[in-house]
């Protein structure tokens, strides 16, 4: 319950930051899949077992989509905010590859990139403003 507002904020920011992707093609697909995966990771309403199955299935799709983006020559030098933002942080955009390289789960990889650790999330308290 304590972590819910933080998680909701993360999901919201992830969806908002990837919304302007009308023309990117491979990148658009990757960002959509990634946003949905993060949503699944952080959704407290999904049972643990279901979540794991969904993430495993999404991971397979993300691997392919990440590779498609990295190999997409049409994106080379395409100076749009979306493409610039996508290549600003390899570990955040290419979540599965970055996480596998570092031998950590994709949830941890994503939280690390946002300056959060599993511990800090778990120790967060719910306060009224």
């Amino acid at each position: 319950m304590k972590t819910k507002p933080i998680i909701t904020a993360f999901v919201f920011s992830a969806v908002v930051s990837f919304s302007a992707l009308a023309e990117a093609g491979t990148l658009e697909n990757l960002e959509r899949e990634r946003a949905l995966t993060i949503n699944t990771m952080l959704n407290p309403e999904i049972a643990i077992k279901d979540r794991q199955a969904k993430i495993a299935s999404a991971k397979v799709r993300l691997i392919d989509l990440e590779r498609m983006v990295l190999r997409d020559k049409k994106l080379t030098g395409r100076n749009t905010p979306t493409v610039r933002q996508a290549f600003e942080n390899y570990d955040l955009t290419f979540l599965v590859h970055g996480a596998t390289e570092k031998n950590i789960s994709i949830v941890d990889a994503w939280l690390n990139q946002l300056g959060m650790t599993t511990q800090s999330v778990l120790s967060a308290s719910l306060r009224r403003r």
Binding site: L70, R78, V83, F87, T100
Partner: protein, 300 residues
């Protein structure tokens, strides 16, 4: 002097005057400049956009072939044939003049002058065509270089930074691919996707083709003095060659001008010679002075 001889000499004088004027005009560039716009056949090379895509080694051959097929190329070829024949005629006439005498020699010299003038006109015509060819080539290479520069332009610092980041991401992906594959597909339960399998198959085929392309003889870079040239450098080299040919052509026009002047002077000399002969052969009494007529008055 017979009537026929006189008529021939008058005709000779008239035509010599025509040759002198014509020879001087033949080398005049202002007359040809006016004709340039209307009468010269054309060569419209392929668009520079298409030519940029051709391999450097093939570019010149393609352009030369395209030009030879054009009306301008055919016109130059035809003029060259005519010039060759005219050269032969001049050599024959020169030999004939050496052996001829009297009126025949004069007549042959007159013909020789006329042929020299025609020869100069032909050369001048060929040069106009060559000039048009070289100017078209020059403009084409300049357009090609401009297009290439336009493609390279637009690399702003922000875009350059993006390209660098993308290159970095690809390098990182490439260097970690084997490790990631091992972890994802061999150790864990994640199966290899259809995309991964197909991509690997296609990549193997692409690598084979790329290797063949790499070793293909048409893919070798152009070399000048043993130094390999990039496509841009090669086009610049072709542009410089065209410029040099234009400069040489202009020098040749000066030579033509001098040749025309010589023909004009020769025509005037021939005209003067013909006039002298006419005067010497005249039936008119020579101008008499009282002193020369003294003898008539000394006797009864």
């Amino acid at each position: 002097m017979s009537y026929n001889k006189q008529t021939i000499r008058f005709q000779l004088l008239a035509s010599v005057a025509v040759i002198a004027v014509g020879a001087l005009l033949a080398s005049s560039s202002s007359v040809h400049a006016a004709a340039d716009a209307n009468n010269i056949p054309a060569w419209n090379p392929k668009s520079s956009e298409k030519l940029i895509k051709l391999p450097a080694t093939y570019l010149k051959k393609s352009l030369d072939h395209d030009f030879q097929e054009s009306t301008l190329g055919l016109a130059i070829q035809k003029t060259e044939e005519k010039t060759g024949l005219k050269s032969q005629t001049l050599a024959d006439l020169r030999d004939a003049i050496e052996e001829a005498e009297g009126e025949l020699k004069l007549e042959l010299r007159h013909q020789f002058l006329g042929e020299k003038r025609n020869f100069l006109e032909l050369i001048s015509e060929k040069n106009r065509y060559r000039k048009k060819h070289l100017r078209t080539k020059h403009r084409l290479f300049e357009r090609m270089l401009k297009r290439m520069a336009e493609k390279n332009r637009g690399m702003t610092p922000v875009r350059q930074e993006l390209v660098n980041r993308q290159e970095g991401a690809r390098q990182r992906f490439k260097s970690s691919l084997a490790k990631v594959d091992m972890k994802l597909f061999q150790v864990s339960v994640v199966p290899e996707s259809r995309y991964t399998v197909k991509y690997a198959e296609n990549l193997a085929a692409i690598e084979k083709l790329a290797s063949r392309i790499q070793s293909h003889r048409m893919n070798t870079s152009v070399q000048v003095d043993g130094q390999p040239l990039s496509k841009e450098d090669y086009i610049r080299q072709l542009l410089a060659d065209a410029q040099a040919e234009l400069a040489v052509l202009e020098q040749e026009e000066t030579i033509l001008g001098y040749m025309a002047k010589l023909v004009a002077f020769d025509a005037l000399a021939l005209s003067e010679q013909a006039l002298d002969a006419e005067m010497a052969d005249s039936d008119r009494p020579s101008a008499s002075s009282p002193a020369k007529a003294v003898d008539y008055f000394l006797t009864n």
